[in-house]
């Protein structure tokens, strides 16, 4: 049985990460920025899993689980920030809040 080449898994993870980064840089809607960050976390998890698959070790899956908890905590705080932003400014455009007060 031919196993999946690790280079292709890492290449896919890189492309997904770049797409997520592009989304963060290009989109101005805060919800889309958070979604793109999820894509980036997911790409990192894919890289860990393909590494773990290449060396037949469980460490890749453990690192994926830690990335998962990080993503969950990040998205909870991020979405709370979205709600607060919408309450104060009636918009989710992040360019509106680029000015500081004072």
């Amino acid at each position: 049985m031919i196993s999946i080449p690790v280079e292709h898994g890492l290449l896919l993870a890189t492309i997904l990460f770049c797409l997520g980064l592009l989304g963060v840089l290009v989109r101005r809607n805060l919800i889309f920025v958070l979604m793109s960050m999820e894509i980036m976390f997911n790409a990192v998890g894919l890289a860990f899993i393909s590494g773990g698959s290449r060396w037949h070790q469980a460490d890749g899956q453990i690192m994926f689980m830690l990335v998962l908890t990080l993503a969950a905590a990040e998205v909870a705080v991020g979405l709370a920030l979205v709600l607060q932003l919408y309450k104060r400014f009636k918009t989710v455009d992040i360019d509106i809040v680029s000015d500081m007060k004072g």
Binding site: M1, I2, S3, I4, H8, G9, L12, I15, L16, L19, G20, L22, G23, V26, R27, N29, I31, F32, L34, M35, S36, E38, I39, N42, G45, L46, I49, S50, G52, S53, H56, Q57, A58, D59, G60, Q61, I62, F64, M65, L66, L68, T69, L70, A71, A72, A73, E74, V75, A76, V77, L79, A80, L81, V82, L83, Q84, Y86, K87, R88, V92
Partner: protein, 174 residues
């Protein structure tokens, strides 16, 4: 090209297409549908790479729990009289076709994998048992740190999402 590689490249193509569609949609609800399809495609990739436990976690936590948070927030941002009309417009028939096709392709892959289970069950699979043993052995400190991170996320989200009190409203008015 082997049977397994074909499945791998199909799922990769599905993940890439769904991700590109996610970051180019104008409507957040449509983007979420494609994002869920992309996460499911990555879950199939995990299964193909011999990590069935990670694939399960990806579906349950990413495509389940985290995406539900997104849905809640998108729905909470659109309160008002026009909400019903807006949802009818969002969930019109044409929107479902793209994500549904991707999900059907992935379903076909999973069924193929399950039917050919004897062929796939190689020594490559890292079982959940090994993962659990490592998690509560050498990685115990990391598990504790992750739990504290989740607690901090919980407290932070609760604090940030509270309703505006009088002092904040006064500061806002100035």
């Amino acid at each position: 090209m082997s049977f397994e590689l074909i499945l791998f490249y199909t799922a990769s193509a599905a993940a890439l297409f769904a991700t590109v569609m996610t970051i180019t949609r104008l409507n957040a609800a449509h983007a979420l549908l494609y994002l869920i399809a992309s996460l499911l495609a990555v879950a199939v990739l995990f299964y193909l790479m011999g990590a069935p436990f990670a694939a399960g976690l990806e579906v349950i936590i990413y495509a389940g729990a985290i995406m539900v948070l997104f849905v809640f927030v998108i729905m909470m941002l659109n309160m008002g009289q026009q909400t019903v009309e807006q949802e009818r417009q969002w969930l019109s028939f044409g929107i479902w076709i793209g994500p549904s096709i991707i999900c059907l392709i992935l379903l076909a892959e999973v069924v193929t994998l399950l039917v050919n289970d004897e062929r796939m069950a190689g020594a490559r699979i890292v079982s959940p048992k090994v993962v659990g043993a490592l998690l509560y052995g050498p990685y115990l400190l990391a598990v504790e740190l992750a739990s504290m991170l989740l607690l901090a996320g919980l407290v932070g989200a609760y604090h940030l999402a509270r309703p505006l009190n009088e002092k904040d409203k006064k500061a806002e008015a100035e």
